[in-house]
């Protein structure tokens, strides 16, 4: 909350204290004086709202190629961003310099961009009282996460073991890679409405990339799994199952025929199959799209936008899921947001700027890759809810169609047209999965496809993913049960 009184002149003792910068090796309550003073300066300059976002990152990646560790790459970074609102317009300035003067310079630059100036030396500076620090790192016992993660040696040992496992299960191997990364992030948010919150996030992921070749036939299969908040994730990775799955897929796709282009009924597998909903619908429910008027759903709240069999959620609370966050990057606790219920649009995904500009309430979805980005409305764990059908019932309903077992990436354009690559596909003939197919791309238009998802099975599955958009790359979960799309254009040869 912004408090206009009491005020103090020349920033008083508190401002003097604030100029002695707290340690940048820990972002905690010791930053209160510094940040509340800077927020007060921003308010006195005439800004409607000011927010500071401070970040420390300790990142490491490790790569095993065939039987050797070829890369261990640590990265350490610190930085801060300040966002200033004047009416509905805003600007964002980021810096590596976490000294008081460095942050003040960033604030001054942001204010000047908005046509505002810092107050003179004798001006009254309204103090901004910050709430008692909401410290999710302490509340949820995250302080020792980093030290409990795998050592460099353990990373190497696990990845070499994983690469050995896939070598034993696959045939015609040309290249095999196992990779791992650990992203430890400490964030502190302070804003002129009194928000003062700290969190530690720990995101880890392992993946396989297998290339097989036999003469002119080639197949490449990738698989990635991820987790948040589990320091022992890597050492607990049961890679045998993943190795078997990847090897089997690569073997089947090695001799696959190209799919014949056309319009087909399609059954999409669960887990990463959810990327279609993420791209074709989820992005269009972000308030950044409403601001740009690039979503066909902008004025459809309360209306039917999808088949009545479809209910969908976006949330940040599933334990250890890749998109789970205790608070968003604007300090708001994560929540569970119902997007679509039985085909009816219920809510949008909103951050602070989106809420200011569109009127839709914030949903704890203000996210960013790091301090160089202002937060924006972004998805977290997004999935279609399970339905009532048995899996076989979906297949039984298809005479000739395509089973999309493993989706690749995809994208949606400003007019709602989307496309998705299919990494592993099979022909369905009379309800049975028959020959493998390669080279398929699913093409459609968001408003149309949502009406054609006619059957959802009971087997909801989630998968880790990376989502790139206006505020950088963020960790997300996509998911769905197996589902049937009545007809969709499939690009092929």
């Amino acid at each position: 909350m912004v408090v206009a009184a009491p005020v103090f002149k020349n920033a008083g003792n508190r401002a003097d204290k604030a100029k002695t910068a707290p340690t940048k090796t820990r972002l905690d309550g010791s930053w209160e004086d510094t940040l509340s003073t800077l927020l007060g300066l921003g308010r006195s300059a005439g800004a409607d709202f000011i927010e500071f976002f401070l970040e420390r990152v300790n990142y490491i990646s490790c790569l095993a190629e065939d039987d050797a560790i070829t890369s261990i790459s640590p990265s350490i970074s610190t930085g801060a961003g300040v966002r200033v609102f004047l009416g509905k317009a805003d600007c964002y300035v980021s810096t590596n310099d976490l000294t008081f003067n460095g942050l003040k310079l960033a604030l001054e630059k942001a204010l000047s961009i908005m046509g505002l100036q810092l107050p003179g030396p004798n001006a009254f500076v309204p103090e901004v009282y910050l709430e008692p620090l909401r410290d999710y790192a302490v509340l949820r016992g995250k302080e020792d996460w980093l030290e409990n993660c795998s050592s460099m040696k353990e990373m190497g040992d696990v990845l070499l073991g994983a690469n050995d496992a896939i070598n034993k299960k696959a045939t015609h191997v040309q290249s095999r890679r196992a990779s791992y990364f650990r992203d430890w992030q400490e964030v502190l948010v302070a804003a002129s409405d009194g928000v003062f919150a700290r969190d530690i996030r720990l995101t880890q992921s392992v993946g396989y990339s297998l290339l097989c070749a036999d003469g002119d036939n080639r197949s490449s299969i990738n698989k990635r799994v991820g987790s948040t908040g589990e320091p022992g994730f890597l050492r607990d990775w049961k890679y045998d199952g993943d190795a078997e799955e990847v090897a089997e897929s690569a073997g089947k796709m090695l001799y696959a025929d190209f799919v014949e282009s056309g319009t087909y009924p399609v059954i999409m597998a669960n887990e990463f199959g959810g990327v279609i909903f993420h791209e074709a619908c989820g992005h269009l429910l972000e308030t950044t799209q409403i601001e740009r008027k690039t979503t066909p759903f902008m004025d459809k709240k309360g209306e039917k936008i999808a088949h009545e069999s479809l209910t969908a959620w976006d949330e940040g609370v599933s334990p250890n899921a890749f998109g789970t966050i205790d608070m968003d990057d604007e300090g708001m606790p994560a929540q569970r947001t119902l997007l679509i219920e039985n085909g009816i649009l219920k809510n949008f995904i909103s951050d602070r700027a989106g809420s200011v500009r569109t009127g839709h309430p914030r949903t704890g979805s203000g996210r960013r890759q790091g301090y160089t980005f202002g937060a924006a409305s972004r998805m977290r764990n997004t999935y279609i809810a399970p339905g009532e059908y048995k899996l076989q019932e979906l297949f039984d309903s298809v005479e000739k169609g395509i089973y999309c077992k493993k989706m690749g990436g995809g994208s949606v354009g400003p007019t709602g047209e989307f496309n998705f690559a299919v990494d592993e596909a099979y022909l369905i003939e009379n309800g049975k999965v028959t020959k493998p197919l390669k080279g398929a791309t699913l093409i459609g238009e968001a408003t149309e496809i949502m009406q054609k998802i006619s059957m959802c099975s009971e087997d909801l599955g989630l998968a880790a993913g990376f989502c790139g958009s206006i505020s950088g790359s963020v960790y997300v979960t996509v998911g769905q049960p197996h589902l049937k799309v009545d007809s969709i254009t499939v690009g092929g040869r």
Binding site: I72, S94, I113, A421
Partner: protein, 446 residues
């Protein structure tokens, strides 16, 4: 901006304290400002000042560790050197990288300009005017949802414990404009354009507006396209996108990793029609982001990749060059594992070959202006692609916008199915190229 002499001096002192005798450092400092507008009003302005360095350390056993940091003060540098030294214990035992043998060789002269940044108010004025002009260009243009004007001042450097020191920098400014249309009973359509220059006074904003408006209007009347095999004309930008997506074909590191469409033995083989030549040329006069040295300090140069249809060269780091008995080419990116990537393609037909095909007289030919979703629709290790595109079907020289379609094929087959490489070359952000005609590609529409 970072002071390279200060950082080099600090690194030397810290390395001495930590008993590190061999190290190198690559880094950059970037100061940027960008603006967006919405319906005549400023929407968001962003500014950032950021620096980062990557340090490599060789330990007493000769293995290498690396660490990157954005914390470029003395304490940050010390932590980075310590962490890199710790990581070096787990460094690769085979093919250990070394300093580039060309890290102190003379650098080419390249065009670098440094312009004073324009005031944010000027950026916003220019962008508001551009948006208005586009909205006035046709009643169907409802908005310009994606727009931006950004200016960047960069400095990059490299130095090592053997005394090599490199640095360079400059400014550039770019703009993009992307429209969206709304017409009763019609699908929304969109189109865009991009321009880049050293400074605002050189930036062709009018050209960007004109191109965006013309493209948008040309897409208003659209038709479905029948699926089938077509002769396809790739715009310079589209063909450059396709070449970039399959750049592993020229990448020596990918070849050594068995993750390329080429092998070491492919050199000298015919991989394309003889009318096609492809070079990578960081120093090309049209390259606004020209760099004179790579992440290992090796000078950049013009490298023939395909000359008259024959695979003529690969892109190398110092390590790949040593392993393959070649010269470094200045394409290395510093990392725990050195990677290799292209700078700026120059695709040309050298003015040779049949030039009888013309867009003015073409019939039943698909013109691909822009390829989309390359991150999803390209199987780079298999050579295949299936990509959505913006473009037109040309019937008797008349362009009709294609509603929604994909083009699919195999990159190696595309190179051999080229039927014409036009003489006229055009600049785009990733290089310079002419229109390229390819026969027999699969297009999926309805």
């Amino acid at each position: 901006m970072l002071n390279i002499d200060t950082i080099a001096s600090q690194a030397k002192d810290i390395a001495g304290k930590l008993n590190i005798s061999k190290y190198d450092v690559s880094g950059s400092s970037i100061d940027s400002t960008s603006a967006q507008v919405d319906q005549g009003e400023p929407k968001q302005v962003k500014a950032s000042q950021r620096s980062s360095v990557t340090v490599r350390v060789w330990n007493a056993d000769g293995t290498v560790g690396i660490t990157s940091t954005s914390d470029t003060d003395e304490a940050g540098l010390e932590l980075a050197l310590k962490t890199a030294h710790e990581a070096s214990a787990f460094g690769a035992k085979d093919n250990i990288p070394d300093f580039s043998p060309e890290a102190t060789a003379a650098l080419a002269d390249a065009k670098h300009e440094r312009h004073d940044p324009a005031p944010v108010s000027t950026l916003l004025e220019k962008l508001v005017a551009a948006e208005k002009e586009l909205l006035d260009a046709h009643e169907a243009i409802e908005s310009v949802p994606y727009n931006g004007l950004s200016q960047t001042d960069t400095q990059r450097f490299y130095f090592n414990s053997n005394g090599a020191v490199r640095s360079e920098g400059g400014t550039y400014i770019s703009t993009y404009l992307y429209t969206k249309t709304a017409q009763e009973g019609r699908r929304p359509r969109s189109a865009g354009a991009y321009r880049v220059a050293y400074g605002l006074e050189q930036l062709d904003i009018d050209g960007c507006i004109k191109e965006t408006a013309e493209k948008t209007i040309s897409h208003l009347d659209y038709e479905k396209i029948e699926s089938g095999k077509y002769t396809v004309v790739f715009s310079p930008e589209a063909f450059l996108s396709l070449v970039g997506a399959f750049s592993n074909m020229f990448n020596a590191q990918s070849i050594l990793d068995n993750r390329s469409l080429s092998t070491a033995e492919s050199l000298g083989t015919e991989v394309a029609k003889s009318t096609l030549s492809i070079y990578d040329d960081a120093l090309h006069s049209a390259n606004v982001g020209a760099t004179t040295f790579d992440g290992e300090g090796t000078p950049t140069r013009r490298v023939p990749l395909i000359e008259k249809g024959v695979l003529s060269g690969f892109l190398h780091s110092s390590g790949t060059a040593k392993r393959m008995g070649a010269e470094p080419t200045g394409h290395a990116n510093m990392g725990a594992k050195i990677t290799v990537s292209p700078h700026f393609y120059h695709i040309t037909g050298n003015g040779e070959g049949d030039q009888s095909l013309s867009l003015e007289t073409a019939d039943n030919v698909v013109y691909i202006d822009e390829l989309s979703a390359l991150h999803a629709g390209v199987q780079a290790l298999q050579g295949s692609f299936s990509l959505p595109f913006d473009g037109w079907l040309i019937k008797n020289g008349k362009k009709v916008s294609v509603e929604s379609a994909t083009v699919a094929g195999d990159f190696r087959e595309v190179l051999k199915a080229i039927v014409q490489v036009d003489k006229e070359e055009k600049l785009s952000p990733s290089g310079v190229a002419p229109h390229v005609w390819v026969e027999g590609l699969s297009v999926t529409g309805e």
